[in-house]
Symmetry: C2
Subunit: 141 residues, 2 copies
């Protein structure tokens, strides 16, 4: 035993496993999603629906995306016709984001799909494990 750690079991490290779990979820998401919406775009869309019109930065904070990421996400949502952008008349720094009618419709359709995606992702687990996973993930997020 000369080394401080003989073996490092990559397959049991939480970081590695989180990456794998994310990969699997992303793949399931992609197979169900509408119009190529990504998990991140979907999250942003849901937040805009909940918040109503709000600034880009505020949206990013509440959707857990940094300023550069939320900008790209909003750009793509705008390109797809789901989000509308306008300058804030009261604050020239701000860009106000809101949903277009197509965006509203998309949110309504995607909520069902989102539930399916969650169910399929959790399918290998028992009901107790599903609740446990969500509870534990909330503790480390």
């Amino acid at each position: 035993m000369t080394e401080s750690i003989e073996s490092y079991a990559l397959d049991e490290q939480v970081g590695y496993l989180l990456r794998l779990a994310n990969q699997r979820h992303a793949s399931i998401f992609q197979s169900h999603t509408l119009e190529g919406l990504t998990p991140t775009q979907f999250a942003a869309l849901i937040r805009i629906a909940d918040l109503g019109k709000c600034s880009q930065n505020r949206l990013g904070r509440l959707a857990a995306m940094d300023v550069a990421t939320i900008k790209g996400v909003v750009d793509r949502l705008r390109q797809k016709g789901f989000a509308v952008v306008e300058p804030d008349p009261d604050d020239k720094r701000r860009t106000l984001i809101s949903l277009s009618p197509e965006g509203e419709a998309m949110v309504a359709r995607m909520k069902d799909v989102g539930q399916q995606i969650t169910n399929e992702t959790l399918k290998p687990l028992t009901a107790a494990e599903q609740r446990n996973l969500v509870r534990i993930l909330r503790k480390i997020s």
Copy 2:
């Protein structure tokens, strides 16, 4: 009750929580890592150390990265001087990847750091929850 789903709790969806958990882990990783190694690069490095010399594709499969990703990762490991690349004399399609002496040294140093990173990521959890999380993640990965 006119809509099929009144509210969709984004903050309880496993996909969203997995993204947050990953963000937190990545941030912890970055604050401890040596020479800017990313979690993905570290995973690849560990796999090369375990496997010894092997083809790029095989490495990618065993590190859970698709062909394009593993190529980029290997390129960066090579740039940093941790990995060595050579053509396979027996199969002209293949590129053989192995660790440089610097790569070996890095793996040895990073195994300790990796353990610290895992510990810090799991810190908000009880010991039972930590075991549970790893067990459940392995089931959905």
